[in-house]
């Protein structure tokens, strides 16, 4: 409350309590430490400037996640324009599953490591949605609002992201044929 009234010390306290969490989200979205640092700084600056617009009906962290997601999306957009990459939802993800015996990877820790690797290889626009929804539990509505897309587009991206993660981690006979049929 004090922070909303422009009290620097109270806002500083909020930053101290939440910056590690915000950095983690930024890192998961960008996949790069330097980018994550920039995104977090930008997010807190925007939060500080827009603090009066924070209605207080949601948790501060939820509001901050939304701003961080927005900053990360801008950062990824700039990075893509800079590198002249093409973001294609249907781009091929390198399948490393042949090098891994699923039976040996049964424990959850190993699954988590493989999920992290698979996440890192997702196209950024799919990774952003799945991280915000399935890791940080943001609503479809909030995700759509922060990314500037429709709610149905957010749902479609989420569906594609989950399917790609599932196929990457547990490839099944028929996946490729099914993907080929979808592409037609």
């Amino acid at each position: 409350m004090k922070a909303r009234q422009g009290d620097h010390a109270s806002f500083e306290e909020l930053v101290r309590m939440t910056y590690v969490d915000a950095y983690n989200l930024a890192y998961r979205l960008t996949g790069d430490e330097e980018d994550a640092r920039d995104v977090v700084q930008d997010a807190y600056l925007r939060a500080f400037r827009g603090l009066r617009r924070f209605r207080g009906d949601a948790q501060f962290t939820t509001w901050l996640y939304r701003i961080t997601a927005n900053c990360a999306a801008s950062s990824l957009g700039k990075r893509v324009r800079h590198r002249h990459d093409v973001l294609d939802d249907d781009e091929e993800i390198v399948d490393l599953s042949a090098r891994v015996d699923p039976a040996e990877q049964a424990d959850r820790g190993a699954v988590r490591e493989r999920v992290k690797a698979a996440l890192a290889e997702l196209p950024p626009r799919l990774r952003t949605v799945v991280v915000l929804r399935d890791v940080y539990d943001l609503s479809h509505e909030a995700i759509a609002a922060e990314l500037g897309i429709s709610e149905s587009a957010a749902k479609v991206r989420l569906h594609r992201a989950r399917r790609k993660l599932r196929e990457r981690l547990y490839p099944m006979a028929g996946d490729e044929e099914r993907d080929a049929r979808r592409a037609v």
Binding site: R28, R49, D134, V135
Partner: protein, 121 residues
């Protein structure tokens, strides 16, 4: 009903946002392929949720950098406010002086008219 007809709903079933009914449910209950895929989605979603509790420590200096950025922005804002406050004061001063001048002119004009009337009479 075939696997292709329900496969797009399995991730939703795994996260609880979709409930299969009728022939779709009947199919999944009897199809080992769909059941396996459902279990895989559940594992993926569980693994994703556990990432939330995994904390990556940022490199030292991040907190100081964030606070410095905010403080810098706060100072810039304060300077801007101060300048705009002074500008308002200048404008107010000029307006007050103009109003006072105009009022003075009116008073002087009426006084000189009165003295002219007295001289005539």
């Amino acid at each position: 009903m075939r696997c292709e007809d329900v496969v797009d709903q399995l991730a939703g079933v795994a996260d609880g946002s979709v409930t299969l009914r009728g022939s779709a449910r009947w199919h999944v209950d009897r199809c080992l392929h769909c059941q396996a895929e459902l279990v895989q989605y559940r594992k993926v979603l569980r693994a994703l949720r556990t990432l939330r509790t995994e904390i990556l420590e940022p490199a030292p200096g991040l907190l100081a950098d964030i606070l410095a950025t905010i403080s810098e922005s706060g100072e810039r804002h304060a300077v801007r406010q101060l300048l705009s406050g002074r500008r308002a004061a200048y404008v107010g001063g000029i307006a007050a002086a103009t109003a006072a001048g105009a009022a003075g002119a009116v008073v002087l004009a009426s006084m000189s008219r009165r003295s002219r009337l007295r001289l005539v009479s």
